[in-house]
């Protein structure tokens, strides 16, 4: 009952957040110089041509007027029409969303696996040279941003040892039987592991580039909180019962040490989704981020708004999910 109430409260605050985001984005992109009309017309177009097109897209009206028109459309599920492609924004954005979701989730899985492994190994071998090596590599992974990792990976595993694809989402020569845009997911459902392998070979490097800094953060924080937990009395008590180091780390310390890490992963995951904008560009991966850059270059105002709103929805959804996980894992919150 209380859970339902807190979820409803969160949904309400989310709605307010989204309206705030919408207002800010709408006005900011209209204040910055440059119009979509200038981008669309060939050189030598007359003043009349400009005026005609401006009126066609409703850009001759005042900004508050434009906002009201856009808002009322949005509330009815109509996010407007993309100026550059002349397609409905909602359909465009939703067609690209699966690609970005698959990439982000794959990055999250990789980051959790690497980070978790580092933290557990570092805790198991605390005080040894291995732990020091893990600390140093964590520091290095953290101090290099994701797009640089992208370039390094392209150079390493795309050029020098070409085992992964460096651009696109899937090889263009393949016949696609897919009915949705969740290629990775659907390839598994259809048991087409040949396609699955090709998709993974495309996704792996961008996902890894996004994952490396997050893996370092997870590794560092989880190791720190594991080390603190290992000194607590209930861990000592478990040792006296005859349990070995591995059991003590995994069963006694980890369930408690993971809580602070979980909160951080939620926050960092939203940064990771932000990171897809540049990484998708770098790997020519056809997701939302890549579309966002094109939209900004072409001043495709409705499309920019649609993408930003969608990102905001994802961010709040992720944070809600993290809070729910936290409550599920922490018995002290379940009844409180």
């Amino acid at each position: 009952m209380q859970l339902l109430q807190s979820v409803l409260t969160r949904l309400f605050t989310t709605l307010i957040t989204l309206i705030g985001v919408a207002v800010i984005v709408f006005f900011v992109i209209r204040v910055v110089p440059g119009t979509p009309i200038a981008m669309m017309l060939p050189p030598g177009a007359t003043e009349d041509d400009v005026a005609r097109l401006t009126a066609l897209y409703g850009l001759d009206k005042s900004i508050p007027q434009q906002f009201l028109i856009w808002l009322s459309g949005t509330l009815h599920g109509d996010f407007g029409t993309s100026i550059t492609t002349r397609q409905p924004v909602l359909a465009l954005v939703l067609s690209r969303l699966p690609a970005t979701l698959e990439l982000s989730i794959m990055a999250l899985v990789i980051a959790t696996a690497i980070g978790g492994f580092m933290a557990l190994t570092g805790t198991r071998l605390r005080g040894t040279k291995t732990e020091a090596a893990i600390d140093i590599s964590n520091g290095m992974a953290l101090s290099v941003p994701d797009f640089l990792w992208g370039l390094i990976l392209i150079l390493g595993f795309g050029v020098l040892i070409p085992i992964f694809h460096i651009s696109g989402r899937i090889s263009p020569s393949l016949d696609l039987p897919f009915t949705s845009n969740f290629y990775l997911f659907e390839s598994v459902l259809r048991l087409r592991f040949d396609l699955w392998a090709d998709i993974v070979a495309h996704m792996f490097m961008p996902a890894l580039a996004l994952a490396i800094p997050l893996a370092a953060i997870i590794g560092q924080l989880l190791k720190q909180s594991l080390k603190e937990t290992m000194h607590l009395d209930y861990v000592t008590l478990a040792r006296t019962k005859g349990y070995g180091e591995n059991h003590v780390i995994l069963h006694e310390a980890l369930p408690n040490a993971i809580l602070p890490t979980l909160t951080l992963v939620g926050v960092q995951f939203t940064f990771l989704i932000g990171g897809t904008v540049i990484i998708e560009r770098l790997f020519s991966y056809e997701g939302l981020g890549n579309m966002a850059i094109d939209a900004v270059i072409n001043r495709d105002l409705p499309l920019i708004q649609g993408i930003v709103i969608l990102f905001a929805v994802i961010f709040t959804a992720v944070n809600l999910l993290v809070d729910l996980c936290y409550a599920a894992l922490n018995p002290r919150l379940r009844h409180a």
Partner: protein
């Protein structure tokens, strides 16, 4: 025949000359309750930790033997040593608020040793846990076993930890200041409970404490520690009538008396502390020769 024999046990801060334990020897007979007293830093808890194999990584044992039922624990490979300790020893920890895992229910925290280490069936282990909880006077054991630690009071939790310590019918229990973290009113009950359980199960008990009042109530013999050195090893009655060591005498005089609530507190005299410290240093010198 003593169940636990510690012979010449020495421990150091790893890689440094700081000595934590200096040739400690003591014995606990089967079913005996031995007190281990000393001020903070005397090394009394370290002896308990050395027996149970939970010394911090920064401390290493540099010599001696810990013989449990005829086997020197220090000569066993780590895994065997752990299982042996899990089977025959148990710990009653100091702080009941931190000694239970906050993310697990009480039931599994009592039964896990029986199921995982001693290979009982889950049903047997749960039946045993219910019996034990009733034995430590916990009403409604079923409900408590399904509870999380944060739903229970400190006194309840200490009762649970005592029950859990007796679960596998250990031969030796180390009680590490088991009443220090509790309210005075609860302290007495818990002390009575430990004595009651010990008598019923006939378990040898090593009672680590800084409180001579507590020792006088439950112990049959005691060892007095200072600076990691055993100063005195006496029967309880002998100790209270005629303590052998000057430091013990001063310690006894410093214990506040319930019969004289207005009496001022007597510290251990500086001269006694200085003499005892000199004795510890002398022991070090003779060890080096």
């Amino acid at each position: 025949m003593s169940y636990l024999t510690i012979r010449n046990l020495s421990a150091n801060l790893k890689g440094r000359p700081d000595r934590i334990l200096r040739n400690v020897s003591l014995q606990v007979a089967a079913g005996e309750v031995r007190g281990l007293v000393g001020e903070s830093g005397a090394g009394k808890s370290m002896i308990g930790k050395a027996i149970l194999g939970t010394l911090p990584l920064s401390i290493e044992i540099t010599g001696g033997e810990i013989i449990l039922d005829g086997t020197d624990l220090l000569k066993l490979p780590p895994a065997q040593r752990r299982t042996r300790i899990g089977q025959f020893c148990a710990l009653i920890p100091q702080d009941p608020l931190t000694a239970l895992n906050p993310s697990r229910r009480i039931g599994p925290q009592i039964t896990n040793r029986l199921v995982d280490i001693l290979r009982w069936t889950r049903a047997d282990a749960e039946k045993r846990a219910r019996e034990l909880l009733a034995e430590v006077h916990i009403p409604d054991p079923e409900r408590v076993m399904r509870s999380y630690p944060h739903e229970l009071s400190g006194g309840m939790r200490q009762r649970i930890l005592i029950a859990s310590a007796f679960a596998a019918e250990p031969k030796l229990i180390v009680a590490d200041e088991p009443t220090t973290a509790l309210d005075v009113t609860v302290q007495k009950q818990i002390l009575k409970l430990i004595a009651e359980m010990q008598a019923r199960h006939g378990t040898a008990l090593l009672f680590v404490t800084h409180d001579l009042g507590v020792v006088s109530k439950v112990c049959q013999s005691l060892s007095v520690l200072y600076g990691g050195l055993v100063l005195e090893d006496s029967r309880m009655t002998d100790f209270f009538h005629a303590p052998k060591h000057p430091y013990s005498r001063a310690l006894l005089a410093a214990t506040p008396k319930y019969t004289d609530p207005d009496g001022s507190l007597t510290p251990v005299p500086d001269a006694v502390v200085a003499a005892t410290r000199a004795e510890v240093e002398a022991a070090d010198r003779s060890a080096h020769v």
